[in-house]
């Protein structure tokens, strides 16, 4: 257990360092800086800008300054002139290159709560509902209910998230104005985005649960439970479902990654002020520092969620523990 956690941690550190190094190298290797778009800058202004963002330093020094709270001053290694910039390790991703007077950290602090709220809401409705529907489908396998649920889950898996989002917007906000079109202030604003974001996850969980429960229903322990005289409901909900939940728990890691990814489009469609919107905009107008900041935060987040789901699964199922060889 502890070994597994340590292994995950090592993987996290290694991959974050690699992501950092590669992306930093790319940013500097590509010709043309972020200030190219504004035409006709005076060379002195350009030099000033370069000095302000330390673009005139050697690359290794810029990298060190970007990573850690080394406080490289203007007059050399650990200089005296205090620099506002504390480095990634101090959760400081530098100034945004496009939003003047904003640090990446400020933007993230304002926008991440929105994204997290949205993602948590989506997970909160989709996982329980998926489990419920999947178990129902397994309990009524072969009936019209199962067929209906199968059609629903297939649709949810096949249709991309942004199509579900625009269709639900079309139906529930324009054709039949139940919910507001955009914005993020009250619970009513959150219904449609959370629905669109959680739908693919719910359908996948439903499929996982259904096949797990069906598989368990043929095993000996379920026969024992039936033999003891338990009712059908108790057999399914208390015995067959319990071990069928393991793959669902293991799926929670990838699910949260998928939800973070999906929130990029959902935020765009519903005009939400979340980190996803900022990320897409930063990619469109080449705001390197903001893009890298969001990438790093999400990398660490996804890694931690994956590791957490793995650990939880191995905690719940002693068979999974230790190293898995495939």
């Amino acid at each position: 257990m502890i070994r597994a956690a340590l292994r995950h941690l090592a993987g996290l550190v290694i991959s974050v360092v690699i992501v950092l190094a590669v992306s930093f190298a790319l940013m500097h290797a590509v010709p043309g800086g972020p200030f190219d778009a504004e035409r006709g800058l005076h060379p002195e202004i350009e030099a000033n800008l370069a000095r302000a963002y330390h673009l005139d330093w050697p690359v290794w020094k810029q990298f060190l300054q970007y990573i850690g709270p080394f406080n490289l001053g203007p007059d050399g290694w650990l200089g005296t002139g205090a620099d506002r910039f504390g480095g990634v390790l101090a959760l400081d991703f530098g100034p945004s290159l496009r939003h003047r007077d904003y640090d990446v950290a400020d933007i993230l602090a304002a926008s991440l709560p929105v994204s997290f709220q949205l993602g948590a809401l989506a997970l909160a409705w989709s996982v329980p509902l998926g489990i419920l529907l999947g178990t129902l489908a397994a309990a009524r396998a072969g009936t019209w209910l199962d067929a209906l649920l199968r059609v629903l889950t297939t649709t949810g898996i096949v249709l991309p998230g942004f199509v579900i989002a625009s269709l639900s917007l079309l139906v529930f906000a324009f054709a039949w104005p139940l919910f507001p079109v955009a914005g993020w202030s009250s619970l009513r604003h959150m219904v449609l985005p959370a629905f669109a974001l959680g739908a693919p996850c719910a359908t996948y969980v439903a499929r996982l649960t259904r096949s797990g429960v069906l598989e368990n229903l043929q095993l000996d322990f379920v026969r024992t439970a039936k033999g003891k005289g338990l009712g059908r409901g108790a057999v399914i909900w208390r015995h067959a479902l319990r071990s069928a939940l393991l793959p669902v728990v293991a799926y929670l890691g990838p699910a949260s990654a998928a939800i973070l990814t999906g929130s990029l489009v959902v935020e765009k469609i519903f005009f939400l002020p979340g980190a996803g919107t900022h990320f897409v905009n930063s990619a469109l107008n080449r705001d390197y520092t903001l893009a890298l900041g969001v990438t790093l935060v999400y990398t660490v987040l996804v890694f931690c969620l994956n590791a957490l789901a793995d650990l939880l699964a191995s905690f719940l199922d002693p068979r999974v523990g230790g190293r898995q060889e495939s």
Binding site: S166, F279, T295, T299, N306
Partner: protein, 370 residues
């Protein structure tokens, strides 16, 4: 999965079904024995596999549907469709008009983005065959007066090309990585697979978007080629894993040892024995990779980071549909038809992939597709 779920509808009594019921075999067991018999008797195993695939109706129909739609996409410039790029801002937003009301008009203008040589020839042939005749706005037009049907067909071309190119890249990287790891085994294998594990838990979408941020501002063609490569380079992980598993399983297989005892060189045993054994699984994973690459392309295009405007792809169409709806006008066709086409294609690809997996990878459990 029980055997009964795979049973054929109807219940025709052929010699095969009679034998099956006599030995009380499930469909799956029966097929496994059939293919084993085919291998032993020296028949071409692919023939038996084709028959088995045909017996899975949804997979077979999906194959036909996909073949047909890729032909339509490939020969799109030959079809008498309106131009997908001609912008007429003064034209009103037209709702779909049924073919029996307006079948076609005679005002085709050949305006496209720069086409390749083959497409130019096709376009000339089209003008020779149909003149200026073009089909009516059967699926409506968008806010810039462009015909939606033509845009869906040409968008399908882009999506298909991206999917195939991405899948091909993932094929090359994944198979070579998997074969190397599986063949050499030991420490090399362990480290290579550890790397795959680490890569798998990275949020690739974000990394790719960051990459496009940094590299993508050059010309749009450079951007598109980067895009193909990047897509393919991301999707090789599961391919590598599966190929490595198969190769490892084969390493210890008796027939390979026999071949080497008989004096076959490493290279020749690689080619003679490895390829036929790995190929089925590679085909299955290729079919499952294509829809996810397609989905990813449309995702990026939807965000405005993929295919750039005079060209068109399904993701871009979905984006335009989403942007077109407003409280005053609800052009539902701009949302519905691209969604329908994309959904159908992805569904068909998924079904085909599932069917192929049943047939070509008999050891796999019937699991819900990702």
């Amino acid at each position: 999965m029980t055997g009964s779920a795979l049973d054929l509808p109807g219940g025709r009594r052929t010699p095969a079904t009679a034998a099956r019921s006599r030995w009380k075999l499930t469909e799956r067991e029966f097929e496994l024995r059939q293919s084993a018999a085919a291998t032993v008797s020296g028949e071409n195993p692919w023939r038996a596999r084709l028959v088995q695939l045909r017996r899975r109706r949804t997979a077979w129909w999906s194959l036909w549907l996909l073949g047909l739609s890729s032909l339509v996409c490939l020969f799109a410039p030959l079809l008498p469709l309106p131009s997908p790029a001609l912008i007429e801002l003064r034209a009103p937003l037209l709702a779909p008009i049924a073919p029996w009301r307006v079948f076609g008009t005679f005002d085709f203008q050949p305006e496209y983005w720069p086409l390749g040589w083959l497409d130019r020839q096709l376009l000339e042939l089209r003008q020779f065959l149909f003149g200026t005749w073009q089909s009516g706005p059967w699926l409506g037009t968008d806010s810039k007066g462009r015909d939606l049907l033509a845009r869906i067909v040409f968008g399908g071309r882009t999506s298909l090309a991206v999917a195939l190119a991405g899948a091909a890249t993932s094929l090359v990287i994944g198979v070579s990585y998997g074969v190397i790891a599986g063949w050499f085994g030991g420490r090399i294998d362990r480290w290579m697979m550890r790397a795959v594990d680490v890569l798998q838990s990275l949020p690739f979408v974000f990394l790719v978007i960051f990459l496009l941020t940094v590299l993508g501002a050059r010309s749009s063609s450079a951007r598109e080629s980067i895009f193909f490569v990047v897509i393919g380079a991301v999707w090789w992980l599961s391919m590598a894993r599966v190929v490595r598993g198969t190769v490892r399983g084969m390493r210890s297989a008796a027939f390979l040892e026999c071949a080497q005892v008989l004096g076959a060189s490493q290279a020749s045993s690689l080619v003679r024995h490895l390829v036929p054994n790995v190929l089925p699984i590679v085909i299955v994973y290729l079919t499952l990779t294509i829809p996810s690459v397609m989905l990813f392309e449309s995702f990026l295009s939807f965000l405005g980071l993929g295919v750039s405007p005079p060209r068109v792809s399904w993701g871009l169409l979905a984006l335009e549909g989403a942007q077109a709806i407003n409280p005053l006008a609800i052009p539902w066709w701009l949302v519905l038809f691209p969604a329908l086409v994309m959904g159908l294609t992805l569904l068909a690809l998924t079904m085909l992939g599932d069917g192929l997996r049943d047939v070509l990878d008999p050891r796999s459990q019937a699991r819900p597709a990702p």
